[in-house]
Protein backbone atom coordinates (compact mmCIF):
# COMPACT_ATOMS: atom_id res chain seq x y z
CA UNK A 1 0.00 0.00 0.00
CA UNK A 2 2.84 2.24 0.94
CA UNK A 3 4.46 1.73 -2.48
CA UNK A 4 1.17 2.40 -4.22
CA UNK A 5 0.84 5.69 -2.33
CA UNK A 6 4.32 6.77 -3.39
CA UNK A 7 3.80 6.21 -7.13
CA UNK A 8 1.26 8.93 -7.73
CA UNK A 9 3.39 11.41 -5.73
CA UNK A 10 6.41 10.63 -7.91
CA UNK A 11 4.38 10.95 -11.10
CA UNK A 12 2.86 14.27 -10.05
CA UNK A 13 6.29 15.64 -9.19
CA UNK A 14 7.61 14.60 -12.59
CA UNK A 15 4.70 16.32 -14.29
CA UNK A 16 5.26 19.48 -12.32
CA UNK A 17 8.95 19.38 -13.23
CA UNK A 18 8.22 18.95 -16.93
CA UNK A 19 5.71 21.82 -17.01
CA UNK A 20 8.17 23.99 -15.18
CA UNK A 21 10.93 23.39 -17.72
CA UNK A 22 8.61 23.98 -20.79
CA UNK A 23 6.57 27.16 -21.28
CA UNK A 24 2.92 26.83 -20.40
CA UNK A 25 0.74 26.24 -23.51
CA UNK A 26 -1.12 29.51 -22.95
CA UNK A 27 2.19 31.34 -23.39
CA UNK A 28 2.21 30.17 -27.03
CA UNK A 29 -1.13 31.80 -27.77
CA UNK A 30 0.02 35.40 -28.34
CA UNK A 31 2.84 34.12 -30.54
CA UNK A 32 0.42 32.01 -32.59
CA UNK A 33 -1.98 34.93 -32.94
CA UNK A 34 0.85 37.27 -33.99
CA UNK A 35 2.12 34.69 -36.49
CA UNK A 36 -1.33 34.18 -38.01
CA UNK A 37 -1.91 37.96 -38.20
CA UNK A 38 1.47 38.33 -39.87
CA UNK A 39 0.61 35.64 -42.43
CA UNK A 40 -2.77 37.24 -43.04
CA UNK A 41 -1.16 40.65 -43.56
CA UNK A 42 1.42 39.23 -45.96
CA UNK A 43 -1.33 37.51 -47.95
CA UNK A 44 -3.42 40.69 -48.05
CA UNK A 45 -0.44 42.73 -49.20
CA UNK A 46 0.34 40.15 -51.86
CA UNK A 47 -3.31 40.24 -53.00
CA UNK A 48 -3.25 44.04 -53.05
CA UNK A 49 -0.14 44.23 -55.22
CA UNK A 50 -1.45 41.54 -57.58
CA UNK A 51 -4.74 43.44 -57.94
CA UNK A 52 -2.81 46.67 -58.59
CA UNK A 53 -0.79 44.91 -61.28
CA UNK A 54 -3.95 43.54 -62.89
CA UNK A 55 -5.61 46.96 -62.71
CA UNK A 56 -2.61 48.61 -64.34
CA UNK A 57 -2.59 46.11 -67.21
CA UNK A 58 -6.37 46.40 -67.58
CA UNK A 59 -6.12 50.21 -67.78
CA UNK A 60 -3.26 50.00 -70.26
CA UNK A 61 -5.29 47.71 -72.50
CA UNK A 62 -8.28 50.08 -72.30
CA UNK A 63 -6.12 53.02 -73.45
CA UNK A 64 -4.43 50.93 -76.11
CA UNK A 65 -7.86 50.08 -77.55
CA UNK A 66 -8.49 53.77 -78.38
CA UNK A 67 -7.64 53.27 -82.09
CA UNK A 68 -10.70 50.96 -82.27
CA UNK A 69 -12.92 53.92 -81.35
CA UNK A 70 -14.13 54.34 -84.94
CA UNK A 71 -15.10 50.66 -85.16
CA UNK A 72 -17.11 50.89 -81.94
CA UNK A 73 -18.56 54.37 -82.50
CA UNK A 74 -22.09 53.10 -81.87
CA UNK A 75 -21.06 51.79 -78.44
CA UNK A 76 -19.30 55.09 -77.68
CA UNK A 77 -22.47 56.93 -78.65
CA UNK A 78 -24.66 54.65 -76.49
CA UNK A 79 -22.38 55.09 -73.50
CA UNK A 80 -22.22 58.87 -74.05
CA UNK A 81 -26.02 58.91 -73.84
CA UNK A 82 -25.96 56.84 -70.63
CA UNK A 83 -23.24 58.77 -68.81
CA UNK A 84 -24.03 62.14 -70.39
CA UNK A 85 -27.63 62.87 -71.31
CA UNK A 86 -29.17 60.43 -68.84
CA UNK A 87 -27.06 61.83 -65.99
CA UNK A 88 -28.19 65.43 -66.46
CA UNK A 89 -31.08 65.28 -63.94
CA UNK A 90 -28.96 63.97 -61.04
CA UNK A 91 -26.13 66.41 -61.80
CA UNK A 92 -28.62 69.31 -61.93
CA UNK A 93 -30.35 68.31 -58.67
CA UNK A 94 -27.07 68.03 -56.75
CA UNK A 95 -25.59 71.24 -58.22
CA UNK A 96 -28.73 73.29 -57.60
CA UNK A 97 -29.03 72.03 -54.00
CA UNK A 98 -25.43 72.68 -53.09
CA UNK A 99 -25.34 76.07 -54.87
CA UNK A 100 -28.41 77.26 -52.99
CA UNK A 101 -27.16 75.94 -49.66
CA UNK A 102 -23.75 77.51 -50.17
CA UNK A 103 -25.29 80.90 -50.97
CA UNK A 104 -27.42 80.83 -47.80
CA UNK A 105 -24.63 79.74 -45.44
CA UNK A 106 -21.81 81.83 -46.92
CA UNK A 107 -24.17 84.82 -47.18
CA UNK A 108 -25.02 84.51 -43.47
CA UNK A 109 -21.34 84.35 -42.62
CA UNK A 110 -20.40 87.33 -44.81
CA UNK A 111 -23.24 89.36 -43.34
CA UNK A 112 -21.49 89.22 -39.95
CA UNK A 113 -18.49 90.95 -41.56
CA UNK A 114 -20.57 93.32 -43.62
CA UNK A 115 -19.21 91.77 -46.80
CA UNK A 116 -22.38 90.33 -48.32
CA UNK A 117 -21.51 91.84 -51.70
CA UNK A 118 -18.64 89.33 -51.89
CA UNK A 119 -21.12 86.44 -51.96
CA UNK A 120 -20.83 86.07 -55.75
CA UNK A 121 -17.05 85.84 -55.61
CA UNK A 122 -16.92 83.27 -52.81
CA UNK A 123 -19.66 81.02 -54.17
CA UNK A 124 -18.26 81.19 -57.71
CA UNK A 125 -14.82 80.09 -56.52
CA UNK A 126 -16.23 77.26 -54.41
CA UNK A 127 -18.55 76.03 -57.14
CA UNK A 128 -16.22 76.31 -60.13
CA UNK A 129 -13.05 75.10 -58.47
CA UNK A 130 -14.37 72.47 -56.09
CA UNK A 131 -18.02 71.70 -55.55
CA UNK A 132 -19.24 71.66 -59.16
CA UNK A 133 -16.76 69.05 -60.41
CA UNK A 134 -16.64 67.14 -57.12
CA UNK A 135 -20.39 66.70 -56.85
CA UNK A 136 -20.62 65.78 -60.51
CA UNK A 137 -17.86 63.20 -59.94
CA UNK A 138 -19.52 61.69 -56.89
CA UNK A 139 -22.92 61.57 -58.56
CA UNK A 140 -21.48 59.91 -61.65
CA UNK A 141 -19.47 57.52 -59.52
CA UNK A 142 -22.77 56.39 -58.03
CA UNK A 143 -24.77 56.43 -61.25
CA UNK A 144 -22.41 55.59 -64.11
CA UNK A 145 -19.95 53.61 -61.94
CA UNK A 146 -22.61 51.42 -60.39
CA UNK A 147 -24.16 50.75 -63.77
CA UNK A 148 -20.79 49.71 -65.20
CA UNK A 149 -20.01 47.48 -62.22
CA UNK A 150 -23.39 45.77 -62.21
CA UNK A 151 -23.69 45.38 -65.98
CA UNK A 152 -20.18 44.07 -66.56
CA UNK A 153 -20.34 41.97 -63.39
CA UNK A 154 -23.53 40.30 -64.61
CA UNK A 155 -21.91 39.73 -68.01
CA UNK A 156 -18.88 38.18 -66.31
CA UNK A 157 -20.99 35.89 -64.14
CA UNK A 158 -23.16 34.76 -67.05
CA UNK A 159 -20.01 34.07 -69.15
CA UNK A 160 -20.92 36.72 -71.74
CA UNK A 161 -17.42 38.18 -71.46
CA UNK A 162 -15.94 34.72 -72.01
CA UNK A 163 -18.27 34.34 -75.00
CA UNK A 164 -16.89 37.55 -76.51
CA UNK A 165 -13.35 36.23 -76.11
CA UNK A 166 -14.32 32.78 -77.36
CA UNK A 167 -15.66 34.23 -80.61
CA UNK A 168 -12.71 36.51 -81.24
CA UNK A 169 -13.80 39.87 -79.81
CA UNK A 170 -11.61 41.80 -77.40
CA UNK A 171 -13.96 42.48 -74.44
CA UNK A 172 -11.91 45.46 -73.25
CA UNK A 173 -12.12 47.13 -76.65
CA UNK A 174 -15.82 46.34 -76.94
CA UNK A 175 -16.98 47.07 -73.39
CA UNK A 176 -14.45 49.26 -71.56
CA UNK A 177 -12.95 51.54 -74.19
CA UNK A 178 -16.34 52.97 -75.33
CA UNK A 179 -17.24 53.71 -71.69
CA UNK A 180 -13.90 55.43 -71.14
CA UNK A 181 -14.14 57.54 -74.31
CA UNK A 182 -17.75 58.46 -73.56
CA UNK A 183 -16.86 59.51 -70.00
CA UNK A 184 -13.87 61.56 -71.19
CA UNK A 185 -16.10 63.37 -73.68
CA UNK A 186 -19.19 63.84 -71.50
CA UNK A 187 -17.69 64.71 -68.12
CA UNK A 188 -16.51 68.11 -69.43
CA UNK A 189 -19.94 69.44 -70.45
CA UNK A 190 -21.43 67.89 -67.30
CA UNK A 191 -18.91 69.82 -65.20
CA UNK A 192 -19.85 73.01 -67.04
CA UNK A 193 -23.52 72.24 -66.47
CA UNK A 194 -22.91 71.54 -62.79
CA UNK A 195 -21.00 74.85 -62.41
CA UNK A 196 -23.68 76.78 -64.28
CA UNK A 197 -26.58 75.26 -62.31
CA UNK A 198 -24.78 75.75 -59.00
CA UNK A 199 -24.06 79.40 -59.73
CA UNK A 200 -27.57 80.10 -61.00
CA UNK A 201 -29.12 78.62 -57.87
CA UNK A 202 -26.66 80.60 -55.72
CA UNK A 203 -27.61 83.78 -57.60
CA UNK A 204 -31.29 83.00 -57.10
CA UNK A 205 -30.83 82.51 -53.35
CA UNK A 206 -28.66 85.65 -53.15
CA UNK A 207 -31.50 87.66 -54.69
CA UNK A 208 -34.43 86.12 -52.86
CA UNK A 209 -32.93 85.15 -49.52
CA UNK A 210 -30.17 87.69 -48.93
CA UNK A 211 -31.79 90.47 -51.03
CA UNK A 212 -28.62 91.06 -53.04
CA UNK A 213 -29.10 92.68 -56.42
CA UNK A 214 -28.29 90.18 -59.24
CA UNK A 215 -26.05 92.78 -60.87
CA UNK A 216 -23.91 93.00 -57.73
CA UNK A 217 -23.79 89.22 -57.46
CA UNK A 218 -22.69 88.61 -61.06
CA UNK A 219 -20.28 91.54 -61.00
CA UNK A 220 -18.53 89.82 -58.13
CA UNK A 221 -18.36 86.63 -60.16
CA UNK A 222 -17.16 87.25 -63.72
CA UNK A 223 -14.49 89.95 -63.56
CA UNK A 224 -12.75 88.24 -60.69
CA UNK A 225 -12.54 84.72 -62.02
CA UNK A 226 -9.03 83.88 -63.24
CA UNK A 227 -8.17 81.24 -65.91
CA UNK A 228 -6.64 79.04 -63.21
CA UNK A 229 -10.05 78.77 -61.52
CA UNK A 230 -11.46 77.18 -64.67
CA UNK A 231 -8.35 75.03 -65.21
CA UNK A 232 -8.66 73.61 -61.68
CA UNK A 233 -12.34 72.79 -62.18
CA UNK A 234 -12.24 71.46 -65.70
CA UNK A 235 -9.03 69.46 -65.31
CA UNK A 236 -10.85 67.36 -62.76
CA UNK A 237 -13.40 66.15 -65.31
CA UNK A 238 -11.04 63.88 -67.32
CA UNK A 239 -9.30 62.71 -64.14
CA UNK A 240 -12.63 61.69 -62.61
CA UNK A 241 -13.73 60.12 -65.91
CA UNK A 242 -10.67 57.86 -65.96
CA UNK A 243 -10.95 56.94 -62.26
CA UNK A 244 -14.69 56.20 -62.25
CA UNK A 245 -14.76 54.26 -65.53
CA UNK A 246 -11.67 52.14 -65.03
CA UNK A 247 -12.32 51.31 -61.37
CA UNK A 248 -15.96 50.36 -61.95
CA UNK A 249 -15.25 48.37 -65.13
CA UNK A 250 -12.30 46.56 -63.50
CA UNK A 251 -14.49 45.56 -60.57
CA UNK A 252 -17.21 44.38 -62.96
CA UNK A 253 -14.69 42.24 -64.84
CA UNK A 254 -13.42 40.82 -61.53
CA UNK A 255 -16.89 39.76 -60.31
CA UNK A 256 -16.98 36.19 -59.03
CA UNK A 257 -19.49 34.14 -57.07
CA UNK A 258 -22.95 34.62 -58.57
CA UNK A 259 -25.33 37.49 -57.96
CA UNK A 260 -23.86 38.20 -54.53
CA UNK A 261 -20.49 38.58 -56.25
CA UNK A 262 -21.99 41.14 -58.67
CA UNK A 263 -23.31 43.10 -55.67
CA UNK A 264 -19.92 42.99 -53.95
CA UNK A 265 -18.03 44.10 -57.04
CA UNK A 266 -20.49 46.95 -57.69
CA UNK A 267 -20.23 48.24 -54.13
CA UNK A 268 -16.45 47.93 -54.21
CA UNK A 269 -16.36 49.88 -57.47
CA UNK A 270 -18.47 52.74 -56.07
CA UNK A 271 -16.61 52.93 -52.74
CA UNK A 272 -13.14 52.84 -54.29
CA UNK A 273 -13.93 55.26 -57.12
CA UNK A 274 -15.67 57.72 -54.75
CA UNK A 275 -12.69 57.64 -52.41
CA UNK A 276 -10.27 58.12 -55.29
CA UNK A 277 -12.37 60.99 -56.67
CA UNK A 278 -12.12 62.79 -53.31
CA UNK A 279 -8.35 62.24 -53.13
CA UNK A 280 -7.83 63.25 -56.78
CA UNK A 281 -9.97 66.38 -56.19
CA UNK A 282 -7.57 67.50 -53.47
CA UNK A 283 -4.39 66.80 -55.42
CA UNK A 284 -5.57 68.37 -58.71
CA UNK A 285 -6.50 71.57 -56.82
CA UNK A 286 -3.23 71.57 -54.93
CA UNK A 287 -1.03 70.94 -57.96
CA UNK A 288 -2.77 73.44 -60.25
CA UNK A 289 -3.09 76.22 -57.66
CA UNK A 290 0.55 75.85 -56.65
CA UNK A 291 1.80 75.94 -60.22
CA UNK A 292 -0.39 78.58 -61.89
Amino acid sequence: MGNENEKPTFTRMKTEDSTASEPHPTLFMPLTVIKSLENKLVLQLKDFFLTMQEFFLFSLRAFMAFPKMIRYWRDVFDQATICGTDSIPIVLVSAISIGALLAIEVGNLLEDFGAKTMLGRSTALSVIRELGPLLMGLMLSARFGSRNGAELGAMQISEQIDALRAFGTDPIAKLVMPRLVAALIMFLPLTALSDFAGLQSAAYMAEHYHRIDPGIFWNAVYPRLAPKDFVVGFLKAPVFAVIITLVSCFNGFSARGGTAGVGRSTIKGIVVSSGLVLIANFYVSKIVLENM
Partner: protein, 244 residues
Protein backbone atom coordinates in the same frame (compact mmCIF):
# COMPACT_ATOMS: atom_id res chain seq x y z
CA UNK B 1 -7.78 17.91 -83.81
CA UNK B 2 -7.44 19.14 -80.22
CA UNK B 3 -4.86 17.70 -77.90
CA UNK B 4 -4.18 18.22 -74.22
CA UNK B 5 -0.75 16.97 -73.16
CA UNK B 6 -0.04 16.50 -69.46
CA UNK B 7 -2.08 19.54 -68.50
CA UNK B 8 -2.15 20.58 -64.85
CA UNK B 9 -4.05 23.52 -63.41
CA UNK B 10 -4.34 25.01 -59.96
CA UNK B 11 -6.71 27.68 -58.60
CA UNK B 12 -4.90 28.96 -55.54
CA UNK B 13 -4.06 25.89 -53.47
CA UNK B 14 -6.72 23.76 -55.14
CA UNK B 15 -5.47 21.40 -57.81
CA UNK B 16 -8.16 21.24 -60.51
CA UNK B 17 -6.46 19.16 -63.19
CA UNK B 18 -3.59 16.74 -62.62
CA UNK B 19 -1.56 15.73 -65.63
CA UNK B 20 -4.57 15.46 -67.95
CA UNK B 21 -3.98 14.17 -71.47
CA UNK B 22 -6.78 14.01 -74.04
CA UNK B 23 -7.13 13.84 -77.81
CA UNK B 24 -10.23 14.90 -79.72
CA UNK B 25 -10.13 13.84 -83.35
CA UNK B 26 -11.93 15.69 -86.15
CA UNK B 27 -15.46 14.56 -87.02
CA UNK B 28 -15.91 12.66 -83.80
CA UNK B 29 -17.95 13.41 -80.70
CA UNK B 30 -16.08 13.11 -77.45
CA UNK B 31 -17.78 13.36 -74.08
CA UNK B 32 -16.04 14.42 -70.91
CA UNK B 33 -17.94 12.94 -68.02
CA UNK B 34 -17.53 13.77 -64.38
CA UNK B 35 -19.22 15.10 -61.27
CA UNK B 36 -20.04 18.82 -60.91
CA UNK B 37 -17.15 21.10 -60.00
CA UNK B 38 -14.44 18.64 -61.00
CA UNK B 39 -12.98 20.85 -63.76
CA UNK B 40 -14.82 19.69 -66.88
CA UNK B 41 -15.76 23.19 -68.05
CA UNK B 42 -12.20 24.25 -67.30
CA UNK B 43 -11.00 21.78 -69.93
CA UNK B 44 -13.18 23.49 -72.55
CA UNK B 45 -11.82 26.90 -71.55
CA UNK B 46 -8.28 25.52 -71.83
CA UNK B 47 -9.06 24.28 -75.34
CA UNK B 48 -10.16 27.79 -76.32
CA UNK B 49 -7.20 29.43 -74.63
CA UNK B 50 -9.52 31.34 -72.29
CA UNK B 51 -7.36 30.16 -69.39
CA UNK B 52 -3.76 28.99 -69.33
CA UNK B 53 -2.57 25.79 -67.70
CA UNK B 54 0.14 25.81 -65.02
CA UNK B 55 1.96 23.10 -66.96
CA UNK B 56 1.44 20.98 -70.05
CA UNK B 57 0.42 21.87 -73.58
CA UNK B 58 -2.82 22.56 -75.45
CA UNK B 59 -2.50 21.86 -79.16
CA UNK B 60 -5.15 22.82 -81.72
CA UNK B 61 -4.67 21.56 -85.29
CA UNK B 62 -0.95 21.15 -84.66
CA UNK B 63 -0.49 24.63 -83.15
CA UNK B 64 0.58 24.91 -79.54
CA UNK B 65 -1.74 27.57 -78.10
CA UNK B 66 -0.51 27.29 -74.51
CA UNK B 67 1.60 30.44 -74.53
CA UNK B 68 -0.13 32.26 -77.39
CA UNK B 69 -1.08 35.89 -76.95
CA UNK B 70 -4.76 36.81 -76.86
CA UNK B 71 -4.69 38.47 -80.28
CA UNK B 72 -3.12 35.44 -81.97
CA UNK B 73 -5.68 33.18 -80.33
CA UNK B 74 -8.63 34.79 -82.12
CA UNK B 75 -7.92 32.96 -85.39
CA UNK B 76 -7.61 29.65 -83.50
CA UNK B 77 -10.84 30.24 -81.60
CA UNK B 78 -12.76 30.74 -84.83
CA UNK B 79 -12.07 27.10 -85.64
CA UNK B 80 -14.16 26.18 -82.61
CA UNK B 81 -17.65 27.17 -81.58
CA UNK B 82 -18.56 27.21 -77.92
CA UNK B 83 -21.96 26.65 -76.35
CA UNK B 84 -21.73 27.87 -72.77
CA UNK B 85 -23.57 26.24 -69.89
CA UNK B 86 -25.74 29.30 -69.27
CA UNK B 87 -25.85 29.99 -73.05
CA UNK B 88 -24.10 33.37 -72.55
CA UNK B 89 -26.47 35.09 -74.97
CA UNK B 90 -26.26 38.88 -74.97
CA UNK B 91 -29.44 39.80 -73.15
CA UNK B 92 -29.74 43.29 -74.65
CA UNK B 93 -29.70 41.94 -78.21
CA UNK B 94 -32.48 40.21 -80.13
CA UNK B 95 -32.14 36.61 -81.30
CA UNK B 96 -31.10 37.60 -84.82
CA UNK B 97 -28.66 40.21 -83.46
CA UNK B 98 -27.18 37.56 -81.17
CA UNK B 99 -26.77 35.17 -84.08
CA UNK B 100 -25.21 37.79 -86.33
CA UNK B 101 -23.13 39.48 -83.62
CA UNK B 102 -19.80 37.81 -84.31
CA UNK B 103 -20.17 38.01 -88.09
CA UNK B 104 -20.68 41.75 -87.78
CA UNK B 105 -17.87 42.04 -85.24
CA UNK B 106 -15.18 40.00 -86.88
CA UNK B 107 -15.88 39.50 -90.56
CA UNK B 108 -16.31 42.27 -93.07
CA UNK B 109 -19.30 40.68 -94.76
CA UNK B 110 -22.05 42.56 -96.59
CA UNK B 111 -25.18 42.98 -94.48
CA UNK B 112 -27.21 40.92 -97.00
CA UNK B 113 -24.87 37.94 -96.54
CA UNK B 114 -25.02 38.25 -92.74
CA UNK B 115 -28.82 38.34 -92.86
CA UNK B 116 -28.84 35.23 -95.05
CA UNK B 117 -26.54 33.33 -92.66
CA UNK B 118 -28.65 34.42 -89.69
CA UNK B 119 -31.81 33.24 -91.47
CA UNK B 120 -30.15 29.85 -92.11
CA UNK B 121 -29.35 29.45 -88.41
CA UNK B 122 -32.84 30.57 -87.39
CA UNK B 123 -34.23 27.86 -89.63
CA UNK B 124 -31.72 25.27 -88.38
CA UNK B 125 -32.63 26.02 -84.77
CA UNK B 126 -36.34 26.01 -85.59
CA UNK B 127 -36.86 29.53 -84.28
CA UNK B 128 -38.77 31.12 -87.15
CA UNK B 129 -40.93 33.94 -85.83
CA UNK B 130 -38.68 34.60 -82.84
CA UNK B 131 -36.04 36.64 -84.69
CA UNK B 132 -36.89 39.93 -82.99
CA UNK B 133 -37.46 38.55 -79.49
CA UNK B 134 -35.01 39.08 -76.66
CA UNK B 135 -33.41 35.93 -75.16
CA UNK B 136 -35.27 36.39 -71.87
CA UNK B 137 -38.60 35.78 -73.61
CA UNK B 138 -37.54 32.32 -74.87
CA UNK B 139 -37.66 28.98 -73.08
CA UNK B 140 -34.46 27.27 -71.86
CA UNK B 141 -34.43 24.84 -74.80
CA UNK B 142 -34.92 27.65 -77.33
CA UNK B 143 -32.13 29.69 -75.78
CA UNK B 144 -29.84 26.65 -75.99
CA UNK B 145 -30.69 26.29 -79.69
CA UNK B 146 -29.88 29.97 -80.28
CA UNK B 147 -26.54 29.42 -78.52
CA UNK B 148 -25.85 26.42 -80.78
CA UNK B 149 -26.84 28.45 -83.84
CA UNK B 150 -24.50 31.24 -82.74
CA UNK B 151 -21.64 28.78 -82.34
CA UNK B 152 -22.33 27.30 -85.78
CA UNK B 153 -22.54 30.54 -87.73
CA UNK B 154 -18.77 30.71 -88.21
CA UNK B 155 -18.77 27.20 -89.74
CA UNK B 156 -16.27 25.92 -87.16
CA UNK B 157 -14.54 22.52 -87.33
CA UNK B 158 -15.36 21.65 -83.76
CA UNK B 159 -18.08 22.61 -81.32
CA UNK B 160 -17.58 22.62 -77.57
CA UNK B 161 -20.71 22.02 -75.50
CA UNK B 162 -20.69 22.81 -71.79
CA UNK B 163 -23.48 20.77 -70.17
CA UNK B 164 -25.77 20.98 -73.23
CA UNK B 165 -28.81 19.44 -71.53
CA UNK B 166 -28.37 20.77 -68.00
CA UNK B 167 -31.52 22.46 -66.69
CA UNK B 168 -33.68 21.37 -69.62
CA UNK B 169 -36.84 19.28 -69.52
CA UNK B 170 -36.60 15.75 -71.05
CA UNK B 171 -38.25 16.80 -74.34
CA UNK B 172 -35.92 19.77 -74.83
CA UNK B 173 -32.92 17.63 -73.83
CA UNK B 174 -33.84 15.08 -76.47
CA UNK B 175 -34.17 17.82 -79.11
CA UNK B 176 -30.75 19.24 -78.21
CA UNK B 177 -29.09 15.81 -78.32
CA UNK B 178 -30.68 15.09 -81.71
CA UNK B 179 -29.42 18.45 -82.90
CA UNK B 180 -25.90 17.59 -81.75
CA UNK B 181 -26.05 14.18 -83.47
CA UNK B 182 -27.26 15.79 -86.68
CA UNK B 183 -24.32 18.21 -86.66
CA UNK B 184 -21.81 15.45 -87.30
CA UNK B 185 -23.91 13.69 -89.89
CA UNK B 186 -25.01 16.80 -91.81
CA UNK B 187 -22.13 19.21 -91.24
CA UNK B 188 -19.16 16.88 -90.65
CA UNK B 189 -18.44 18.59 -87.36
CA UNK B 190 -16.52 17.29 -84.40
CA UNK B 191 -17.74 18.02 -80.89
CA UNK B 192 -16.66 17.92 -77.28
CA UNK B 193 -19.47 17.51 -74.78
CA UNK B 194 -18.92 18.16 -71.13
CA UNK B 195 -21.65 16.57 -69.06
CA UNK B 196 -22.53 14.94 -65.77
CA UNK B 197 -25.47 13.04 -67.32
CA UNK B 198 -24.38 9.59 -68.43
CA UNK B 199 -27.40 9.06 -70.72
CA UNK B 200 -26.23 12.00 -72.85
CA UNK B 201 -22.90 10.25 -73.33
CA UNK B 202 -24.48 7.05 -74.61
CA UNK B 203 -26.88 9.06 -76.78
CA UNK B 204 -24.34 11.04 -78.80
CA UNK B 205 -20.68 10.35 -77.97
CA UNK B 206 -18.27 8.17 -79.94
CA UNK B 207 -15.75 8.19 -77.13
CA UNK B 208 -15.73 9.27 -73.52
CA UNK B 209 -13.19 10.47 -71.00
CA UNK B 210 -14.10 10.27 -67.32
CA UNK B 211 -12.65 12.98 -65.10
CA UNK B 212 -12.46 12.18 -61.42
CA UNK B 213 -10.60 14.14 -58.77
CA UNK B 214 -8.71 16.06 -61.46
CA UNK B 215 -7.51 12.95 -63.29
CA UNK B 216 -8.68 11.08 -66.36
CA UNK B 217 -9.58 7.63 -65.12
CA UNK B 218 -11.07 6.36 -68.38
CA UNK B 219 -10.58 7.37 -72.01
CA UNK B 220 -11.93 5.05 -74.68
CA UNK B 221 -14.87 4.40 -76.97
CA UNK B 222 -18.24 4.79 -75.28
CA UNK B 223 -19.15 1.10 -75.54
CA UNK B 224 -16.16 0.13 -73.40
CA UNK B 225 -17.38 2.24 -70.51
CA UNK B 226 -19.48 -0.71 -69.37
CA UNK B 227 -16.33 -2.81 -69.07
CA UNK B 228 -14.48 -0.29 -66.89
CA UNK B 229 -13.71 -1.53 -63.43
CA UNK B 230 -12.96 1.70 -61.62
CA UNK B 231 -15.31 1.90 -58.61
CA UNK B 232 -16.34 5.45 -59.50
CA UNK B 233 -17.36 4.41 -63.02
CA UNK B 234 -19.19 1.39 -61.67
CA UNK B 235 -21.09 3.65 -59.30
CA UNK B 236 -22.03 6.18 -61.99
CA UNK B 237 -23.20 3.44 -64.31
CA UNK B 238 -25.62 2.31 -61.66
CA UNK B 239 -26.71 5.83 -60.61
CA UNK B 240 -26.78 7.30 -64.15
CA UNK B 241 -26.70 10.94 -62.98
CA UNK B 242 -23.72 12.20 -61.06
CA UNK B 243 -24.69 14.24 -58.08
CA UNK B 244 -21.51 14.26 -56.07
Amino acid sequence: MIELRNVSLKYGDREILKNVSLTIKDNTIKAILGPSGVGKSTILKLMLGLIKPNSGQVIVDGTDITCMKERSLYSIRRKMGMVFQGNALFDSLTISQNLGFFLRENLKLPEAEISQKVAEQIQFAGLEGYEDQLPESLSGGMRRRVAIGRALIFKPHMILFDEPTAGLDPVSSKKILSLISSLRHNNNLGAVIVTHIIDDVFHVADSVAVLYQGEIIFDDVTEKLHEAEHPFIRSILSDKILEL
